[in-house]
């Protein structure tokens, strides 16, 4: 123990001298990042369908969609995001990419919000807005035979299908 009283601080001194200075000069130099780091996401409005798959899967509800009169607003609130990247995994249009942004500090809560605004298509039969136009356009690209049903809202579609079904059995509608 007596020897240790002297030898331990000396050993520590040699360790410290050998290590030198490890401090990174951030923010006046680059941060300590690796290539797999998941930072904030970025939504590409050119590719986004407005389908809402990301909204369904987001655990803390940082991605929300609200439907207003003629448009749907997809809002991304960085403040509540947990940076898990599930939205990027499930997006069918690959519109969401995970960036390496972590310098997200802000003095105003509104600065942490991002919005993507979709125009809603109106139904060809009843005239009510029902789905984002971008979603319909991409669905029709993938499945052209759906064109005659794609412009009609779900209510009218149900009515039309039931009518066609009934007519095929010879009902008098």
């Amino acid at each position: 123990m007596q020897v240790d009283r002297i030898s331990s601080p000396l050993k520590l001194l040699t360790i410290a001298l050998k290590t030198g200075r490890v401090t990174k000069k951030y923010p006046f130099g680059p941060p300590l990042l690796t290539e797999s780091f998941r930072g904030a996401i970025s939504i590409d409005p050119a590719k986004c369908w407005g389908c809402g798959a990301c909204v369904l899967v987001c655990p803390p509800n940082a991605l929300t969609m609200r439907f207003e009169e003629e448009r749907a607003v997809l809002e991304y609130f960085k403040g509540r995001c947990i940076f898990c990247g599930m939205c990027a995994d499930v997006c069918p249009a690959s519109a969401i990419t995970v960036t390496k942004e972590f310098e997200l500090a802000a003095t105003n809560l509104e600065d942490l919000k991002e919005g993507v605004i979709h125009r809603l298509s109106t139904c060809a039969v009843c005239g009510k807005p029902f789905a984002p136009a971008a979603e319909l356009r991409d669905v029709m690209k993938m499945h052209p035979i759906a064109e005659e049903y794609a412009n009609i809202c779900p209510e009218c579609r149900k009515k039309r299908t039931a009518k066609a079904f009934g007519l095929s059995f010879g009902a008098n509608i």
């Binding site: 030898s7 797999s36 780091f37």
Partner: protein, 549 residues
């Protein structure tokens, strides 16, 4: 009113009360009154604007066989002192003027102590001036006692008259705590005799949230990971283990390997964190800084392999979300080699430094029989001679493909728990290297799975703090019931045994040595009664009543 007129007034009052005026000088008036009337005179002087300066007890038995008390008042505006004398034979009671002039209390107590005067109203008060162990009946200022008298007896012993229990509130916000929790340590002198713990500050409603519409089987691992920020991956692994056991899902081998590797990396970082905090608590801040410097490459390695420094987010039911390619494997092996070298050199210093060794050895002892009776888990158990480790006893994931020792020490003190953790870091580094070498090829997650409702399963995983248990009853799309029992929950009752009769200075290291993680725990309150040895689980409100007795 001039000075002369004031003196005339005082004379008049004194004569009215049956006393006499002994003498009058330029600065003072000396009067004597019968002892039954002194209180009235004190009251009158006080209401006329006098301040009490002091009082003095005098042994005048050699002059007139009486004891006397001189009360000295001062009239500030006139620059006049008024000295009031009362006297009585030995044993006669002298009235106190403390209720009329509260300033007199201390000097009357002093007179009582030093001369043995019987002053009414002050009998029950404790010794004021003389030491607590001074013998009865010996009064220093009496003329018949020599100035160099030494009473017999040992002055070095602590008097038994100070057993008052003092409750020390620690928390919820205290410089030494990182989480809000409330401890009341009851101390007698310096020994801790009882502990009251009021927890649940971190209760966030996680178990109920998992049953709500907002969450499904797929997204609950993210919720489970945030139960605790230090051992989060353990909770998410335990949850997917329980669900996979309930639904009988076959997870690919590669995913099991990746999960084990990340679990061991988490264990390394948690133990290095604890060693730094333990050094900091003992005052060895150089140890704290060096240990966290050595720990930083592990955090970067975790970020490289999973995507985030903490709360990794790679577990899903049926596998993992992120893969490891060859270059990542190679970099991981390099990092681990460097960490092992630096850690080895530093730990030699840490376990030899007197600050750590002398304070941690022999304190906070948990004997093996108590450890068995309280079913403690983790390094707390392994430091007391119990060889318990979930990785060996109930094998899960890919641990059967690696070989490692379980370090066990039998002393049961704080140093044993520290050494268990030091050894476990070496073992974990070796496990990760073995698993990285033997990583099989294949998919990292199942393609699809079905989870039938109302199946039950239990998952147990070895967290850095001990054994973590999750119990699942499956439902439609999300669990019907999910119960989490954290390892610290099982270890807190052992604090009662470890804190018994320890000095207060060792109490903090002892509490920190079970590596408490109150975010995981927060489910029930345990009141420990050290003296009677009983232990009861009590609810929130009953505990308060129990503690205030």
């Amino acid at each position: 009113m001039s000075a002369g007129e004031v003196v005339k007034e005082i004379e008049g009052k004194v004569v009215e009360l049956g006393g006499i005026v002994e003498s009058i000088t330029e600065t003072a008036v000396f009067v004597e009154v019968p002892r039954e009337r002194v209180r009235e005179l004190a009251d009158w002087l006080y209401n006329s604007g006098a301040f009490l300066k002091t009082c003095a007890g005098v042994d005048e038995r050699s002059i007139n066989s009486k004891f006397a008390v001189y009360h000295i008042f001062g009239l500030d505006e006139k620059g006049l002192d008024v000295v009031v004398k009362i006297s009585g034979l030995e044993g006669e009671a002298l009235p106190s003027i403390a209720d009329a002039v509260p300033a007199a209390e201390w000097c009357e107590l002093e007179a009582r102590d030093m001369l043995g005067l019987h002053i009414l109203g002050h009998e029950a008060k404790p010794r004021h001036v003389l030491p607590q162990d001074w013998p009865e009946g010996v009064y220093p200022l009496r003329k018949d006692l020599s100035y160099d008298y030494r009473p017999s007896g040992n002055a070095e012993k602590f008097s038994e008259e100070l057993p008052r229990e003092v409750g020390l509130p620690i928390g919820p916000y205290h410089p030494i705590l990182h989480e809000p929790e409330y401890f009341e340590l009851y101390v007698e002198g310096e020994r801790v005799v009882d502990v009251f713990y009021r927890g649940f500050h971190v209760h966030r409603g996680i178990e109920k949230l998992a049953e709500s519409q907002r969450f499904t089987y797929k997204t609950i691992p993210f919720l489970a990971e945030r139960i605790c920020g230090i051992c989060g991956f353990v909770h998410s692994s335990c949850y997917v283990l329980a669900v996979e056991r309930a639904a009988r899902i076959e997870v690919p081998e590669r995913a099991q390997f990746i999960r084990s590797i990340v679990l061991e990396i988490e264990r390394i970082h948690s133990h290095l964190l604890w060693l730094g905090i333990a050094a900091h608590i003992l005052g060895y801040d150089a140890g704290f800084m060096h240990m966290w410097r050595i720990r930083e490459p592990i955090m970067l390695l975790a970020e490289l392999l999973t995507g985030s420094r903490k709360t990794y987010g790679i577990n899903i039911v049926g596998g993992v979300r992120r893969d490891m390619d060859e270059s990542k494997k190679k970099r991981a092996l390099d990092v681990l080699k460097n960490v092992r070298e630096e850690y080895k050199k530093f730990v030699e210093v840490l376990t030899a430094v007197p600050e750590i060794v002398k304070r941690a050895t022999g304190t906070g002892v948990l004997p093996k029989s108590d450890a068995r009776a309280l079913s403690v888990v983790g390094p707390t158990a392994r430091g007391s001679g119990l060889k318990r480790d979930v990785r060996k006893d109930y094998p899960y994931f890919a641990y059967k493909h690696s070989s490692f020792k379980v370090p066990v020490y039998s002393e049961g003190d704080n140093m044993a728990r520290l050494l268990v953790r030091v050894d476990e870091v070496f073992e974990s580094i070796s496990i990760v290297e073995q698993l990285l070498d033997a990583l099989p090829k294949g998919p990292i997650a199942v393609e699809s799975y079905e989870i039938p409702p109302l199946r039950k399963a239990v998952g147990t995983v070895e967290a850095p703090r001990g054994e973590d248990v999750h119990f699942i009853i499956t439902g439609h799309g999300r669990p019907y019931r999910w119960r989490v029992r954290a390892p610290t929950y099982q270890n807190i009752p052992a604090l009662k045994v470890m804190l018994r009769n320890t000095p207060l200075a060792d109490a903090f290291l002892t509490i920190a040595s079970i590596d408490p993680c109150f975010s995981c725990t927060d489910r029930a309150i345990v009141i420990r009664d050290v003296r009677s040895g009983s232990r009861r689980f009590v609810g929130l409100f009953e505990g308060r009543r129990y503690a205030s007795r």
